[in-house]
C-alpha cells in the first residue's frame, strides 16, 4: 500500500500467532465492478416520500389522524395528521420513475440510478443513526465506510490520500469528524478533510519558496540516505524517506487538483458554479470528480451541516416545505451534474455513487409550525448509481403511506455489504483484529442485495 509506509508488522517465527495481527495486503477478494466510490451524505434525514418514494395515497388521507397498526412514536411530541407532500410528482425517463418537483435535475438522471426504497435504520435519533450509516455501528469510534474502503483497496495514487472528505462549506455534519474516522484501523485510512480551495490540507503550504523547499528536501533525503547506510534494510526509515518524498509531491498535486481553472465554462455552469445557491456544494461535486479521476479511492461529500438554528441540514421538523426547498436548492443541480459528468466521461463504468441519509421522514405532520415531518427510520430511500448496478431499477417498497417497509427491508448492514461487494470486497472477510474480535464494517450482520446487481 503506497499510503502506508513502513511500520507494518511482518511475520516472524511465531507464525500463526502473528497471522492474527498481521494486516491484510490491499486488494480485492473477487473481480470488482467499481474501483472508486463517491459517497454523498445528506445529514438531518431527507424525506423519501417527498422525493423518490411516490405515495399518491397521502393525498387521500391528508388531514386524517392515523390509528391502529400505524401507531408510531415520533422523536418529538405527539403524532399529527397525515400530511400530503407539498410537491407534485411526475414520471421521468425510460423507467417512468416518479420524482417530486423538489428535485427537477436529479429527476432527469433516474435511468442511471438504482433505488433502495426500504432502508431501515436502527435508531431514530440523529447521533446513533448517523454513526450507523457512517460506520455501521450506532456508537462512536468505529472505522468509517471510506476508511474500510481505503484499508480494503489501498490507494491508486502516490500523491493524494486514498480517502478525501469534502464537508458542506456551511459546517461539518452532525457527529463531525467521527463520520470519517479510522476507528481502530491504522491512521492512514482516516478521511483527509480538504478545507479551503487554496490550502486544502493543513500545513500543505511551505513557508519558503519552491527552490528552497526543493533544496531542503534534498538535504533531508541526502542525510537520511546517509543514515540508511548505517541502518540498511530499516523499513521504517525507508518508509520515512518515501513519506517525505510523497509530502513533497502532495504539495504540488493537492493544489493542482483543487485548481479548477482548466474546467470549461459549460462544466462550471452545469455544476452550478455561477449561482451562489449551488456554488459551494457544486465545487465539491466537481472536486469529487477530479479526485476520483486522479485515483482517490473514496470521496465523501456532505450536503448539510450540523444542528442549530437556523437549520443547515435536512432535518425538516417545523416546516418541511421551506427546509427541503432550501436544502434541495443547493443539492439537486450539482448532484445531477456530477452523475451526468461521470457518465459522459465513462467514469460511471468503474465508479459507484452513493446517495444516502440517516433516516427518512414520517408521512404525518409533526403538529408544530408549518407542517414539518418527524424522523422515520422504518422505511426510507437511498440510491446508488454506476458500476455493477441495474440502472433505472427500484428495489424494496414501503407501505401505501410510507410509514414502514412493506417488502425487502434493506438494513444499513445490507447496504454496506452491497457497496463493498461492488468494490470486489467480501464484507465477511474484510476485517481487522481489534479487542479480541475480527471486526467488520457490518458487525456480524448483513447480506449483499443481489437483486440490484447488474
Amino acid at each position: 500500500m503506497l499510503w502506508e509506509v513502513g511500520g507494518g508488522l511482518a511475520g516472524i517465527a511465531l507464525a500463526q500467532m502473528e497471522a492474527q495481527a498481521a494486516p491484510r495486503k490491499p486488494g480485492t477478494h473477487f473481480a470488482p465492478k467499481a474501483k472508486n466510490v463517491i459517497l454523498i451524505y445528506l445529514p438531518g434525514g431527507i424525506s423519501a416520500i417527498d422525493t423518490f418514494d411516490y405515495k399518491p395515497d397521502l393525498v387521500k388521507h391528508h388531514g386524517k389522524q392515523t390509528k391502529g397498526e400505524n401507531t408510531i412514536t415520533p422523536f418529538f411530541g405527539k403524532p399529527g395528521a397525515v400530511m400530503k407532500s407539498p410537491w407534485e410528482f411526475r414520471p421521468y425517463g425510460k423507467s417512468g420513475k416518479y420524482v417530486s418537483d423538489l428535485l427537477p435535475h436529479l429527476a432527469q438522471r433516474v435511468d442511471d440510478m438504482t433505488f433502495f426504497h426500504s432502508m431501515v435504520a436502527r435508531s431514530n435519533a440523529h447521533g446513533p443513526a448517523i454513526f450507523q450509516m457512517s460506520t455501521g455501528y450506532i456508537f462512536q469510534g468505529f472505522p468509517s465506510v471510506g476508511s474500510w474502503v481505503s484499508y480494503g483497496l489501498g490507494s491508486e495514487n502516490q500523491n493524494l490520500p486514498s480517502f478525501v472528505v469534502l464537508p458542506d462549506p456551511r459546517g461539518l455534519p452532525p457527529c463531525g469528524v467521527a463520520n470519517w474516522g479510522n476507528g481502530f484501523l491504522p491512521a492512514q485510512h482516516q478521511g483527509v478533510m480538504f478545507g479551503d480551495q487554496k490550502n486544502p490540507i493543513a500545513d500543505l503550504r511551505a513557508p519558503v519558496a519552491p527552490a528552497v523547499q526543493a533544496a531542503s528536501y534534498d538535504l533531508l533525503s541526502q542525510l537520511n540516505e546517509e543514515h540508511l547506510g548505517a541502518h540498511p534494510g530499516d523499513d521504517a526509515l525507508a518508509g520515512r524517506i518515501r513519506a517525505y518524498e510523497m509530502a513533497a509531491r502532495m504539495q504540488v498535486s493537492a493544489p493542482e487538483v483543487t485548481d479548477i481553472k482548466g474546467e470549461s465554462e459549460a462544466t462550471r455552469e452545469a455544476y452550478g458554479l455561477n449561482d451562489p445557491a449551488t456554488r459551494a456544494y457544486g465545487y465539491n461535486c466537481l472536486l469529487a470528480r477530479r479526485l476520483v479521476e486522479r485515483g482517490v479511492r473514496c470521496v465523501q461529500l456532505f450536503n448539510g451541516g450540523h444542528f442549530g438554528a437556523p437549520r443547515i441540514n435536512w432535518d425538516g421538523h417545523e416546516d418541511l416545505r421551506a427546509n427541503h426547498s432550501r436544502c434541495a436548492a443547493s443539492m439537486d443541480k450539482p448532484t445531477a451534474a456530477l452523475l451526468a459528468d461521470l457518465k459522459q466521461r465513462g467514469m460511471l463504468n468503474d465508479t459507484v455513487v452513493v446517495w444516502t441519509t440517516e433516516f427518512g421522514r414520517l408521512p404525518i405532520s409533526e403538529g408544530i409550525g408549518e407542517g414539518g415531518r418527524d424522523h422515520n427510520p422504518e422505511g426510507f430511500t437511498s440510491f446508488m448509481a454506476g458500476a455493477g448496478l441495474k440502472p433505472g431499477y427500484s428495489y424494496g417498497r414501503t407501505d401505501e403511506l410510507g410509514y414502514k417497509t412493506a417488502e425487502n427491508p434493506t438494513t444499513i448492514y445490507d447496504f454496506h455489504a452491497t457497496l463493498l461487494h461492488l468494490l470486489g470486497l467480501d464484507y465477511t472477510r474484510l476485517s481487522w483484529y481489534h479487542n479480541g474480535l475480527q471486526r467488520r464494517l457490518t458487525d456480524v450482520h448483513g447480506h449483499v442485495v443481489k437483486d440490484v446487481l447488474a
Binding site: 492474527q20 463531525g176 500545513d203 511551505a206 513557508p207 538535504l219 542525510l223 442549530g308 474480535l437
Partner: protein, 1033 residues
C-alpha cells in the same frame, strides 16, 4: 525442566518438527481462531453441542485418524469440511499438521497461560553469561542464543544518553548532561545518569502521558455538545504519583476506589477521577438508563484492558466467544461501577457532580485547617442557638420580632420596587406572597418598563438583588427583571444584567456586550422550584467579575449552582453598565413572564451575608403573617432574636461567617475536578441486560470479578475497594503481567505480549513468557515499585545495545521482538513536538495547571463543534502557553490536537493502551511547515548564531548537539554546508523571503542578527529536526 522449556520456546514455527507441540503457543491460537466461534465458551452460539476449548469427544487422544476433529477438517466434501465455508476460515497444511501432532502427542489441554499464576523461574543458563547485566538479559539472551543470534554491541555513550533521556523524561538530553556523562568514566556512570534522569519532574510527566491514554483523559465531555470539563487536577495527580514513585498497587487503589478509603485525603479523592474520564453526554432525547449502561460498559472495558488485559466488553451481549467470560460476569463487573452518585446527563457544565474543589498546593494546608475550623465554628454557633432555648422560643411565640425596625444592621436598599401609579395593559396588581406591597403579575407578552429606574449592576462592585417571585407551571425561560442593551439580536449579544428562570430554576447573568463575554449561574437540579407558589430569591455578588462570585439563595438558603462558562474562563471582561431601563417581565426581546408575578424586588449595594439573606427572606412573612407562616420566617425570627440579645452567639456567628468567607475565597480560586462518590446506603448491583439492551434487564447480579481470574470471596469487600485490592493481590494472575508488559512496550516499542490490551485467547502469545512472568513476580514482590521496574529495564544490556541490525537479524527478527538490537522507533506526536521545543530552547518547563491552547490550524474546532458548544471557538493562547509540553495541550475529544492525531494519538474517547505507529506524508507536512516547528527551527538557529559567534562548523556542531545530541560527521557536514550555501544565496537574493520565514511564530526575533543568515540557518535547523534520527527514539 529448564532445558525442556527452552526447546519449546525455540520451536515456535521454525524447524519444529521434532519438538513436542506447545498447546498454548501453537494449538490454542488455531482452535481459537478457527473453531471457538461455534465450539467455544459461548453457549449462545455453540453448534452441535460440541466444545473444543475443553477436552471432549471430538478428539481421541493419541489417535488423530480416529478423531472426529481430524476427520472433519480433512473431509472430502467441502460442505462438510471444517471450518465450514460460511466461516471464511481455512486451515493451511502447517496448521493441520500442528493439530495432528498435538492429538498424536496426547491432546493435552492446558489452561490459557495468562490465567495461571506467574511463576518466577530460575534464570536460564546462557553461553555468553558476562554479557547479561540482569535477569532480563538472561532470558533474552537465552532466546537469542537458541535462535543463533548474537546481541548487538553496546551503543555509544551519546546515543545512550539520548535514548535514556527520551525514555525517562520524554525530552532530549541537555548538551551539558551529555557532556558530563561523556566525561564520567566511573563504572556506574550509566546508572547514575539513570538516577539523575528519573529524579527529574519530567519523569512523572513522561510516564503520566502514557497513562493518560489508558485513562482516556480529556478536557471536554466528548459526546454531542462536547463542552469543557474541568479535570486537569486529575492529570496533575497522575504526574505527581509517578514522580513520588507511588507503588502501583496504591496507584490502583486510589484511582479505582480512593473515595472508599477511610477518611480519604483530597489527593486520594482527586485520583478517583480515573473513572470520571469517560466520555459523557447531555444530548436531548437520550435515555438515562441507556446512557448509564454505556458509562458502566466503558468503565468495565477500561478496567479490563488496563489491569486485566482482557476484552471483558466482548461479553456485553453474549458470553465471550473466545475467553471464559460469561455475559453474567460482565454485568457483575459492571455492578462495581453502577453505585455512584453520578447522574447520566452531564448537564453540559464544566463541573458535573460529583466534583471537588482542589485548592492550589500552597493553600492546601490552610484549606484542610478550614475544613476542621468551619465544622467547629458551625457547631459552636449551633450550640449557642440551642442554649438560647426557652427564652428565644418565648420571644418568638409572643411575636416580639414585630418590634424590630430593620432586618439587620446597615440595611439600606438602593432601590425597592414601588407600586407604579399607572400600569400598562396586561400588567396587574395582585396579592403577593404574604401581604405587604402588592405584587405585579404579567399577561402574555406583557412587561413593565421603568424608565426612571436606571439601576445598573456593575461587575466590579458587590451587590444583592432580592425578590419574591411567583412561577407559572410552564417550563420555558421567563424573564423576571432585566436591564439589557441589545448589541446584536441575531447572535443574542447583550450588555447589562438579567434575572430570569430556566426550567423553573432561578438564573442570573451579567453580560459585557461582546460575544461569549458573560457570566452566568443557575440553581442546580435541586433548586428547581415548585410552580404556582411564591418563593423568595436572592442573588448576591462580590464584585469580582467572576461567575464564582455569584450566589443564589432560595427561601433564604444558599442553593447549589452551576454555570456554563465560555472558553475564556468564566470572567466578564466588558462593562455591564447599560443604557436600557430596568424592565420587569421581559428581557426586551423575546422572553416574557406570562402568568408570573414579582413582589418586593430590591437592590442593595453590598453582598449580603448568609444570615442577612435568611432574615431578609423571612422579613415580610414575619411582618404580615407571623413566624408560623413559612419555614423561613421561623429561622429569621430566631436570627433576629439572637442578633439582638446574644452577644456570644453574635461573636460565634461572625467567626463562622469569616471561616465560610475564607473557604469560599479559596474555592473561588481553585479548580474543580471530577471524582467518584459511592452510594453508601446500598451494595453495588446490576442487571444482566439481554443482548446488551438497556431496556431488557434480566437477572440481578452482585459485584464480582471474572471467575477465570479469581474471586472476591469473603476476603475483599464487594465494591470498588475490593476490586482494587483484588486486582493487585498475588491471587490475580493478570495485573502484574499486564502492567509490566505495558511498561516494556513504552520502552522497547512492542510488548512481550504485543496485544497489550488482550491477554486472552485471541491476543498474541508472549514472545518471552518466562521473562514476562519473572518480571511480573519481581515487580509485585518489590512492592509494585514502578521506578525500580523501569530502572531494571533501562539498565539491562539488552536496552543498551546499538540499534543496528544485521542482515540475519532482519530476516530472523524483523520487528526486533527478540531484542536482538537496541530499541529504535518513531516517537509519539507529543514527543516529536516537545523535542523540537526543547532543542530550540522555547520549551516552558512548568509542570501542571490548566490546559493550554497553542497554535492550531484555523477553524479546527469551529468546523467540528456544535452551535452551542463552549469549545466551539479555539481561542489561541499567547506567550508561555504556546511552548508548554504537549501533554498540557487542551484536549477536545471531538477535535484532538491535529498535530498529535496525525501522529496516531488516540482521540481519548475510549481507553487506549497501545498506539499505532505509522509514517505518513501528513506528518512530514507538519514537522516541515507547521508554525510551531518552523518557529522552533528559527529559535534553534538564533540560539546557534548567538552562542557561536562565527564559523560554520562550530555553529553546526552547536545546532546538532541540541537536535541530535551529537556533532555531525565530516561527510554529513559537507552535505549540510552545500545546502546552507544554497539557502543563503537564495535569501541574499531575496531578503524579503527571509523576513517572511522569520516572521513565523509569536516569539520575539533577534533583530540584530542578519535576516538572510538566520533564514538559512533556520532551514538547516528545520531539516536536521526532520531527520529520521531526530524523529526516532
Amino acid at each position: 525442566m529448564r532445558k525442556c522449556w527452552l526447546l519449546v520456546v525455540v520451536s515456535a514455527g521454525l524447524s519444529a518438527q521434532q519438538k513436542p507441540v506447545d498447546f498454548q503457543r501453537e494449538v490454542r491460537p488455531i482452535l481459537s481462531d478457527a473453531c471457538y466461534h461455534c465450539h467455544g465458551p459461548d453457549k449462545g452460539s455453540r453448534m452441535a453441542n460440541l466444545r473444543l476449548d475443553v477436552p471432549g469427544p471430538a478428539i481421541v487422544a493419541g489417535k488423530p485418524e480416529e478423531s472426529k476433529l481430524w476427520k472433519r477438517i480433512n473431509h472430502a466434501t467441502p460442505a462438510l469440511r471444517m471450518p465450514p465455508p460460511a466461516a471464511h476460515k481455512t486451515l493451511n497444511d502447517a496448521q493441520k499438521d500442528v493439530l495432528k501432532r498435538w492429538i498424536s502427542e496426547g491432546a493435552a489441554y492446558k489452561e490459557h497461560w495468562s490465567f495461571t499464576a506467574p511463576v518466577k523461574r530460575e534464570l536460564p543458563a546462557v553461553k555468553n553469561a558476562q554479557w547479561a547485566r540482569n535477569g532480563i538479559d538472561r532470558f533474552l539472551l537465552a532466546r537469542l542464543e537458541a535462535e543463533g543470534l548474537q546481541p548487538a554491541a553496546e551503543a555509544d555513550k551519546r546515543t545512550l544518553a539520548r535514548r535514556l533521556s527520551l525514555d525517562l523524561t520524554g525530552l532530549p538530553p541537555a548538551p551539558a548532561e551529555v557532556e558530563s556523562f561523556l566525561q564520567d568514566t566511573a563504572a556506574d556512570a550509566y546508572e547514575r545518569l539513570v538516577d539523575r534522569l528519573m529524579a527529574k519532574p519530567q519523569y512523572g510527566e513522561h510516564r503520566g502521558r502514557y497513562w493518560l491514554d489508558a485513562a482516556r483523559y480529556g478536557d471536554t465531555h466528548g459526546i454531542h455538545v462536547d463542552n469543557y470539563r474541568e479535570m486537569w487536577p486529575y492529570r496533575d495527580w497522575v504526574i505527581a504519583a509517578f514522580n513520588k514513585n507511588m507503588p502501583f498497587d496504591q496507584f490502583t487503589l486510589e484511582q479505582l476506589a480512593g473515595d472508599l478509603l477511610p477518611n480519604p485525603t483530597m489527593e486520594q479523592t482527586v485520583a478517583t477521577g480515573f473513572h470520571r474520564c469517560n466520555i459523557t453526554t447531555n444530548e436531548g432525547g437520550s435515555i438515562e438508563e441507556e446512557v448509564a449502561a454505556i458509562y458502566a460498559k466503558d468503565r468495565v472495558d477500561t478496567t479490563g484492558a488496563v489491569w486485566l488485559g482482557l476484552t471483558v466488553g466482548c461479553a456485553t451481549c453474549h458470553d465471550h466467544k473466545f475467553d471464559p467470560i460469561t455475559q453474567k460476569e460482565f454485568y457483575q463487573m459492571a455492578a462495581f461501577f453502577r453505585n455512584t452518585t453520578q447522574k447520566p446527563m452531564d448537564g453540559n457544565i464544566h463541573d458535573t457532580p460529583p466534583v471537588i474543589s482542589v485548592p492550589a498546593e500552597r493553600e492546601r494546608a490552610r484549606w484542610h485547617q478550614l475544613l476542621v475550623e468551619e465544622k467547629a465554628r458551625r457547631d459552636a454557633r449551633a450550640a449557642l442557638r440551642t442554649r438560647a432555648g426557652a427564652g428565644m422560643d418565648e420571644w418568638v411565640r409572643l411575636g416580639k420580632y414585630k418590634t424590630v425596625k430593620t432586618p439587620f444592621k446597615g440595611y439600606s436598599p438602593r432601590w425597592t420596587l414601588q407600586t407604579p401609579a399607572v400600569l400598562p395593559e396586561g400588567v396587574k396588581l395582585v396579592d403577593g406572597a404574604v401581604g405587604g406591597t402588592k405584587a405585579l403579575s404579567f399577561g402574555a407578552k406583557k412587561s413593565l418598563e421603568l424608565p426612571a429606574v436606571k439601576h445598573d449592576l456593575d461587575s466590579r462592585k458587590a451587590f444583592t438583588v432580592a425578590a419574591w417571585v411567583y412561577l407559572p407551571k410552564e417550563e420555558q425561560n421567563f424573564a423576571v427583571a432585566t436591564k439589557l442593551d441589545w448589541v446584536n439580536k441575531k447572535d443574542s449579544i447583550t450588555q447589562g444584567w438579567a434575572f430570569d428562570f430556566d426550567g423553573r430554576r432561578p438564573r442570573f447573568q451579567m453580560m459585557g456586550g461582546k460575544k461569549d463575554d458573560l457570566i452566568l449561574i443557575r440553581a442546580g437540579a435541586s433548586g428547581r422550584l415548585k410552580a404556582n407558589t411564591w418563593h423568595h430569591i436572592t442573588v448576591t455578588f462580590d464584585g469580582s467579575r467572576d461567575y464564582k462570585g455569584l450566589s443564589i439563595f432560595i427561601d433564604g438558603k444558599v442553593a447549589i449552582t452551576e454555570t456554563n462558562p465560555n472558553s475564556g474562563g468564566g470572567m466578564v471582561e466588558g462593562s455591564t453598565l447599560s443604557k436600557a431601563p430596568v424592565t420587569l417581565g421581559s428581557d426586551g426581546n423575546k422572553k416574557f413572564f406570562e402568568g408570573g408575578a414579582v413582589q418586593d424586588l430590591q437592590i442593595l449595594d453590598r453582598q449580603l451575608r448568609d444570615d442577612e439573606v435568611e432574615i431578609l427572606a423571612g422579613w415580610m412573612p414575619l411582618r404580615y403573617a407571623g413566624e408560623a407562616s413559612l419555614d423561613v420566617a421561623r429561622g429569621a425570627a430566631e436570627l433576629l432574636y439572637l442578633q439582638r440579645t446574644d452577644k456570644a452567639w453574635g461573636k460565634a456567628n461572625e467567626e463562622w461567617l469569616q471561616t465560610v468567607a475564607e473557604q469560599r475565597a479559596i474555592t473561588r480560586r481553585a479548580p474543580v475536578t471530577h471524582v467518584m462518590n459511592e452510594v453508601r446506603e446500598k451494595d453495588p448491583e446490576a442487571f444482566v441486560l439481554f443482548r446488551g439492551m438497556y431496556d431488557q434487564p434480566r437477572d440481578k447480579v452482585r459485584a464480582e470479578v471474572p471467575a477465570v481470574a479469581g474471586a472476591l470471596g469473603t476476603k475483599y469487600p464487594r465494591n470498588r475497594l475490593g476490586l482494587a485490592k483484588w486486582l493487585t493481590s498475588a491471587e490475580n494472575p493478570l495485573t502484574a503481567r499486564v502492567t509490566v508488559n505495558r511498561m516494556w512496550q513504552e520502552i522497547f516499542g512492542n510488548g512481550i505480549v504485543k496485544t497489550a490490551e488482550d491477554f486472552g485467547a485471541q491476543g498474541t502469545a508472549p514472545t518471552h513468557p518466562e521473562l514476562l512472568d519473572w518480571m511480573a513476580v519481581e515487580f509485585r514482590e518489590s512492592g509494585w515499585d514502578v521506578k525500580k521496574l523501569v530502572r531494571m529495564m533501562v539498565t539491562s544490556a539488552a536496552y543498551r545495545q546499538a540499534a543496528v541490525a544485521t542482515e540475519e537479524k532482519r530476516k530472523k527478527d524483523p520487528e526486533n521482538l527478540l531484542m536482538s538490537r537496541g530499541p529504535r522507533f518513531r516517537m509519539d506526536g507529543e514527543m516529536v513536538r516537545d523535542y523540537a521545543l526543547a532543542a530550540s530552547g522555547l520549551l516552558v518547563p512548568t509542570i501542571g495547571g490548566p490546559s493550554v491552547r497553542p497554535y492550531q490550524p484555523e477553524k479546527v474546532w469551529e468546523t467540528v463543534a456544535m452551535e452551542g458548544s463552549n469549545t466551539r471557538f479555539y481561542k489561541q493562547d499567547h506567550g508561555e502557553k504556546l511552548y508548554r509540553r504537549s501533554m498540557y495541550t487542551f484536549w477536545k475529544r471531538s477535535a484532538p490536537p491535529a498535530s498529535m492525531e496525525i501522529f496516531n494519538a488516540p482521540t481519548r474517547e475510549t481507553c487506549t493502551v497501545r498506539r499505532e505507529r505509522t509514517n505518513t506524508p501528513l506528518q512530514a507536512l507538519i514537522t516541515m511547515n507547521d508554525v510551531q516547528f518552523v518557529e522552533a527551527a528559527r529559535n534553534l538557529a538564533e540560539r546557534t548564531m548567538k552562542n557561536v559567534k562565527s564559523g560554520f562548523e562550530g555553529r553546526l556542531d552547536y545546532l546538532a548537539e541540541r537536535a541530535l545530541a551529537r556533532p555531525l560527521e565530516a561527510r554529513e557536514k559537507a552535505v549540510v554546508e552545500r545546502s546552507y550555501k544554497s539557502f543563503l544565496s537564495h535569501y541574499d537574493a531575496k531578503p524579503e523571503e527571509a523576513k517572511k520565514l522569520l516572521a513565523m511564530g509569536e516569539s520575539p526575533q533577534d533583530g540584530k542578527l542578519s535576516a538572510q543568515e538566520l533564514a538559512a540557518w533556520t532551514m538547516v535547523a528545520s531539516q536536521v529536526l526532520n531527520l529520521d534520527e531526530a524523529l526516532n527514539k
